[in-house]
């Protein structure tokens, strides 16, 4: 990379280059510290034109590039594998316009999700997707991952809300797929290829996003159930609620272990390891509490609900702090799977019969059939020893249920070697061909996804 420093200086300017190893350290590493890259240079372009010039230069000189947004990937998708150039979108953080009639916002891909919401709040709108990393993750990264999150059961997938994109291709060409038309049936929808492509086909630099109105009222219920089948019965009822905002599930065996990590946080229950917990959010205009009381009481008497904003935040905090608390409990193997919702517990029992072995627990977006299955080890050695055996079992079992080995987190580095099993030779073959179409020199995010 050293021989190219001057060239990059010409393209981006010294102020948009990071070479200090200390500053590069957090960019070379993912937040879970599973992966360590060796990049010696990061560039922080300030315009699509600059991104275009960078990629054109890299393509001509066979320099590998890792596009990086908030670096919040769960699968090592945003960090270098070797010494690739890191292209950070952080400075392209302008929100360009909001159309109040169509509720379409146009923004550069480096805007942080929370910042989008702060801006939209004035207009009483919000981003249609939401996830725990909202304070760090960026628009471009979210789109490149087709991020899932907490609102899928209410709003559907991120894909539904991307009306247009501006993408810089590996050869430097700027592909203008920006569009503010709600309906546009004029042939193959190319932007769909880039959504979820994890930065392997092009770098997203701008997006037109259809926003969702901020619900007038939000009400959260936290329920304690005696068995997993009760959670499924509850799910069946909740799916009939027109105002259903979220449906999240947590095993008691996880929440009970989270108690010591949130000592000041008001707990809805004295979490028990043999119980099952569900968070249901209702949102809309004029929430009629009695309607929900009646229907929820049919499932259990153990239901609490928030009387004010701070209780609502507290209940969500219990759910959202699970991933970070898990990491405080030991070394965690985490699997983000889509399987039929009623098979979550059966699945866990198949992997570790009677749940014996290393501590294992699942939680997640039960409403979408998306389970986060976690195995906690006391030492890294134990984890590596068990990983191959158990991972193979997990992948095979998921495949046998016609599930997905990555519901929302993406593939990145973590699940690359399972892609052919997951997709089948035929489909995977087409994916690789498409990669060659857009990136014949394989400079963009190599050794990721494909």
């Amino acid at each position: 990379m050293k021989k190219y420093l001057n060239s990059f200086k010409q393209i981006v300017g010294a102020q948009n280059m990071i070479t200090d190893p200390f500053d590069l350290k957090p960019l070379n590493q993912d937040w879970q510290r599973f992966y360590q890259g060796k990049s010696e240079l990061a560039v922080t372009p300030t315009s699509s034109k600059m991104v275009s010039e960078i990629l054109q230069f890299c393509n001509q000189n066979n320099i590998k590039v890792v596009p990086q947004g908030g670096n919040t990937s769960f699968v090592g998708g945003a960090t270098p594998v070797q010494d690739e150039l890191i292209l950070s979108l952080r400075k392209m953080n302008n929100i360009l316009e909001f159309d109040t009639t169509t509720s379409i916002v146009t923004a550069e891909s480096g805007v942080i999700l929370q910042s989008m919401n702060d801006y939209l709040q004035t207009y009483r709108y919000q981003m249609p997707w939401d996830l725990g990393a909202r304070g760090s993750c960026q628009l471009g990264g979210n789109i490149a991952t087709n991020a899932g999150g907490l609102n899928v059961v209410r709003n559907g997938p991120l894909r539904n809300y991307i009306l247009g994109l501006e993408v810089v291709l590996p050869n430097g060409k700027i592909l203008d797929l920006l569009n503010k038309n709600r309906k546009d049936n004029t042939g193959t929808d190319l932007k769909q290829l880039f959504i979820g492509s994890e930065g392997t086909l092009g770098i997203i630099t701008k997006a037109n996003v259809l926003c969702a109105p901020i619900p007038e009222q939000r009400q959260v219920f936290f329920l304690e159930l005696k068995g997993f089948d009760e959670a499924i019965q509850l799910l069946r009822s909740a799916k009939q609620f027109e105002q259903l905002g979220a449906f999240e599930f947590m095993e008691g065996r996880i929440l009970q272990r989270c108690l010591p990590f949130n000592p000041q946080l008001k707990a809805p229950f004295e979490f028990k390891a043999d119980k099952y917990y569900v968070l249901i959010e209702i949102c809309g205009q004029q929430i009629e509490l009695e309607y929900y009381f009646e229907r929820l009481l049919k499932h259990t008497e153990q239901i609490v609900f928030n009387q004010n904003e701070s209780e609502l935040q507290a209940m969500w905090r219990w759910r959202e702090s699970v991933p970070e608390n898990l990491h405080k409990m030991g070394h965690v193997l985490t699997y983000d799977l889509s399987i039929p919702p009623d098979k979550f517990e059966w699945f866990a029992e198949e992997i570790y019969p009677e749940r014996k072995g290393p501590y294992n627990a699942f939680y997640g977006h039960l409403g979408d059939g998306n389970i986060h299955y976690n195995i906690i080890f006391e030492s890294v050695e134990e984890m590596h020893k068990e990983q191959e055996r158990v991972e193979d079992k997990i992948i095979k079992l998921t495949k046998s249920l016609n599930g997905s080995i990555s519901a929302e987190h993406g593939v990145g580095q973590l699940k690359r070697h399972y892609m052919e099993i997951q997709k089948g030779k035929e489909t995977f073959g087409y994916m690789q061909e498409l990669k060659r179409v857009f990136d014949p020199n394989n400079i963009l995010n190599p050794e990721k996804l494909l």
């Binding site: 219920f221 936290f222 008001k266 809805p268 009381f293 929820l296 009481l297 008497e301 153990q302 239901i303 609490v304 609900f305 928030n306 009387q307 004010n308 904003e309 701070s310 209780e311 609502l312 935040q313």
Partner: protein, 250 residues
């Protein structure tokens, strides 16, 4: 032992308020029990669970919607509720001395052994009502309670004061106002909020118990000044210069 817990209904502290010249805009704004009053209710419930008191009566002063806060208190564990009704603005026209007088009337009527309340309400921050009530009743008081013990009709209260903690002891009846670290109120459960519907709720028009004198007039309501942006300076010399010329510190 019978306890009276006074609760005030205030704007939910988790939401952003809008300031109008005549006061805070309450139109369509979410309201909830004042956090310190909620702590008082929770403490009463815990004392009852320890079998130190037999009955908890929650009281609020305000319009129709005030009943929701009483329902909340009943769901947390209060046995009965009293709704003193008035259409006056709770955050402006219902003032400490008037409230204290009304509560004193109720104490005389119903013979409570203890009055628990929040140390102050988050809308006006007066921190006067409990103290005035004790004065009117000629009862002992312990304010800013962070711990309450009751043994054989004697209350021992640890108070949070500027210098640290102070422990006071007095024979009941008395008034205790509650501070943040006293307890963390429980969540209200759905079955309990439904049971709350059948608990006794007495409605009394305010003028049967007292009067609102409006002796304190609110002359102006304004939002706090917007914080001016700071600046990052190159070095200590520039810092000193700015402190001298801009902040005019020396």
């Amino acid at each position: 032992m019978k306890v009276l817990v006074a609760v005030k209904r205030v704007v939910d502290s988790g939401i952003k308020v809008r300031v109008k010249p005549e006061g805070i805009d309450l139109q369509g704004v979410k309201m909830t029990i004042n956090p310190f009053c909620e702590i008082a209710v929770e403490e009463a419930v815990r004392l009852k669970e320890k079998k130190l008191i037999a009955e908890i009566v929650a009281v609020t002063i305000g319009p129709k919607q005030g009943a929701e806060s009483l329902r909340h208190a009943l769901a947390l564990g209060a046995d009965k509720a009293i709704h003193v009704t008035t259409e006056a603005r709770i955050d402006q026209a219902v003032q400490p001395l008037d409230v204290a007088n009304i509560l004193a009337k109720l104490v005389e009527r119903d013979n409570y052994n203890l009055v628990l309340m929040g140390k102050q309400s988050i809308d006006d921050d007066f921190n006067q009502t409990g103290q005035m009530l004790a004065g009117l009743l000629d009862w002992p008081q312990a304010t800013f309670a962070s711990n309450i013990q009751i043994t054989d009709g004697v209350a021992q209260v640890i108070r949070e004061i500027d210098g640290g903690l102070q422990t006071v002891k007095f024979k009941l009846p008395g008034v205790i106002t509650c501070d943040l670290r006293l307890n963390q109120p429980r969540f209200a459960s759905v079955p309990n909020i439904m049971k709350a519907k059948s608990k006794p709720l007495e409605t009394i028009p305010l003028d049967k118990l007292g009067k609102l004198h409006n002796s304190i007039q609110i002359t102006k309501t304004e939002a706090p000044a917007v914080r001016k942006g700071g600046a990052i300076v190159e070095n200590v010399d520039v810092l000193l210069q700015k402190l001298r010329t801009e902040a005019k510190l020396f």
